[in-house]
Symmetry: C2
Subunit: 421 residues, 2 copies
């Protein structure tokens, strides 16, 4: 089965807004075995909306739209689609009553224009909106389905999950999309591809996509099949072979972020962590504490931007900064040691570098970052030259720091959840 | 003039990827006075790509595509468009030579399949790609323009800026899009709209969009006009009236982020800042140091997650935590005072709260955050109840902290750049 998604709304044709609803819809449709073959954004203009739906109906089994169901005159979707299908719009009393009640609940009187939202095309199935006033609509015509959903993500998602998925699954047949995802840190994209291309090119029926983000590579495997067991077997075999090829470079088979994987490792090993950051300005602490329950392993951190505070807060000797420079392996290690000692944590991380755009020198260019991990048998330190702008340098520095932490537990023989399948 | 944008690539129809090239293109086209009326994403399938271009050519002055110009068999755009326009593809020696040279430069030999990228439709203008191997193409047919650009953002953007914009501007006529943007902090969307709706509804020729993000409202004004001076006058008048209505709630007229506005205020007033964070885990320090040159005003910060460290690092009395709780106005103020004293900064900020999802109680629910600013004539403290999940609570807390800083300079009569037009 093939579907196309139409997003309706002039604001989605400005430089400030993207249609992100289609990502949710694509994931859900794929799960039901429905392929998305086209996405389209049109403004609130009658002829544009009409043309988009006319094309959808002429070529796709399912046409699913978001937006344009509000109460104002700009909201045309309902009207245009009814007209296109040659159906009359009738005021639906049950819907009207529902909207009135919704207004009552929040202590306001329904405005007249909201009655527009109760207009339903003949023969359409109303999809109740438990999160807002605009009901959705399900219509069928010559064996094809048109589904109109509201634009606000929470309304759209709830309506899809509660009322659309079950209706679609009945029509969708047995073919499903079956997927796997692996994420890799500490390796460039070209190395990842070189190691795994000999594997994935052997699997014709599986679509492999490699996505590169700063400090992270995602490997997506996708197959369409009616035989779940057989396809699971094939994908598991692929994952096993890729895992063998990439080893501990893979940090998750469960689509977790690196900070969540590190949080698991810290928790499993009953270890605590503290941070002393300079160029990353608190980003590492921020990422470690994004994880709910992080107070179980994160004790605290300092952002010692000035040299004075590097000495005052984590005992970096002023003479060391003088002789090696604030951006040096020595200072990174002193930061890591100092913060660990000051907080009494199991492990300590120190980061110092040149995030840019200013501050670079020929010897210590923008992008140079030293990262140290204290608390293991031996100190671990890495000096990296990261490409890109300030944001990118800072992000990659924290990505490397988290990856050093993750690998520490693997190499030290600690417990870790990352590399299992 | 009307344009539509076609993004070509099956990876853009997965749940992991969005076509973001269209945001750049929309902004640039709008600047040239060209309206974007439709955006479309199609996969690497011959008939889908063909249909998208056929529709584009039939209704839009300009059809502009990204992607599908690579060397592999999946890259169909060139071929499909040539066929659609009834033009033969011919190998272009200059392009071929350019690609060979590019490979030579990086010390590799050109692979045979790259010769595909040198195939150019009869009568097409080649757009040189200074950042990659795939050249772009400019074609005209019956008064309409088709522009094929590569998919990688940096290649596409460079090519547009250097070779497409000047060609389009010659055709675009005199009408331009003229815009203004204001950003507001510290007010809910409904209040903003209530105050400014009486203003913007009076301006028929100006499109006003209000976008709400956590802790921030953006007001976009857009007008299409051939008379720049007259339209500038109208927009300036609108901005002036909106500025009067919203006053110091507006933090920028230059589309700056809040941390950049605060950085300006700190710099203008030769003030320094330090932070003591609990629930925000370093996010405030991270935001303050996103700004290049932040070492001029940011001295340092601590993330004192544990109560012990709140006392050890910034002298919050253990008895105060005991009697008022770690999440309290008193502790927020002690954090702000303590970090200011410890670092010797002009101002200090303390944040403590319940970011969730755990840790809430009936008296101190998830979302409760206390924020204090020390260093002014009198201490400033705010207790807020933020809605949303952990990420959202943390973000809004830092947004409020930055806004308190910004307002401090306004109310204290300091220099600030935020509220001027």
């Amino acid at each position: 089965m093939k579907a196309e998604i139409i997003a309706v709304g002039s604001e989605l044709l400005t430089p400030d807004r993207l249609d992100t609803n289609s990502l949710f819809l694509t994931a859900e449709l794929n799960k039901l075995g429905i392929e998305v073959t086209r996405k389209c954004v049109v403004g609130d203009k009658r002829e544009d909306v009409r043309e988009a739906f006319a094309h959808g109906l002429s070529r796709s089994d399912v046409t699913i739209s978001t937006g344009g169901l509000g109460p104002t005159e700009d909201d045309l979707t309902r009207e245009v689609v009814a007209d296109l299908l040659g159906r009359k719009l009738e005021s639906n009393l049950a819907v009207l009553h529902g909207i009135e009640q919704r207004f009552q609940k929040i202590g306001r009187k329904m405005v007249d224009i909201n009655a527009r939202q109760a207009m339903v095309p003949e023969g359409a199935t109303v999809l109740e909106n438990s999160r807002g006033t605009a009901p959705g609509l399900w219509m069928e015509s010559e064996g094809r389905v048109v589904i109109l959903l509201p634009g606000p993500p929470i309304e759209m998602q709830t309506m899809f999950a509660r009322q659309v998925a079950e209706r679609l699954v009945k029509r969708a047949g047995d073919v499903r999309q079956i997927t796997r995802e692996l994420r890799v840190a500490g390796m460039p994209e070209s190395d990842v591809d070189q190691r795994i291309a000999p594997i994935y090119t052997k699997y014709d029926g599986v679509n492999t996509t490699i996505l590169a983000a700063p400090g992270e590579i995602q490997i997506h495997l996708r197959a369409w099949s009616a035989d779940r067991a057989a396809t699971d077997k094939i994908l598991d075999e692929m994952v096993e072979r890729i895992t063998l090829a990439l080893g501990e470079n893979i940090f998750t088979h469960q689509a977790q972020t690196l900070e969540f994987v590190v949080a698991d490792a810290l928790t499993l090993n009953r270890a605590t962590i503290s941070t002393a950051e300079s160029c990353t300005g608190g980003l590492l602490a921020e990422r470690l504490t994004r994880v709910p329950g992080s107070s179980n392993y994160f004790l605290g951190g300092v952002v010692s931007y000035s040299n004075t505070l590097k000495s005052a807060w984590v005992d970096v000797p002023a003479a060391m900064i003088e002789s090696h420079g604030a951006v040096s392996a020595e200072v990174a290690q002193a930061l890591a040691d100092g913060i660990r000692r000051r907080t009494g944590s199991t492990l300590g991380i120190g980061i110092t570098g040149v995030a840019g755009p200013g501050g670079g020198t020929p010897e210590k260019p923008v992008g140079l970052v030293h990262i140290a991990l204290a608390g293991g048998k031996a100190p671990i330190e890495r000096g990296m030259n990261f490409p890109g702008d300030r944001d990118r340098v800072r992000w990659q520095a924290t990505q490397t720091a988290l990856d050093m932490l993750r690998r520490y537990f693997i190499y030290a023989g600690g417990k870790h959840s990352g590399a299992k399948s």
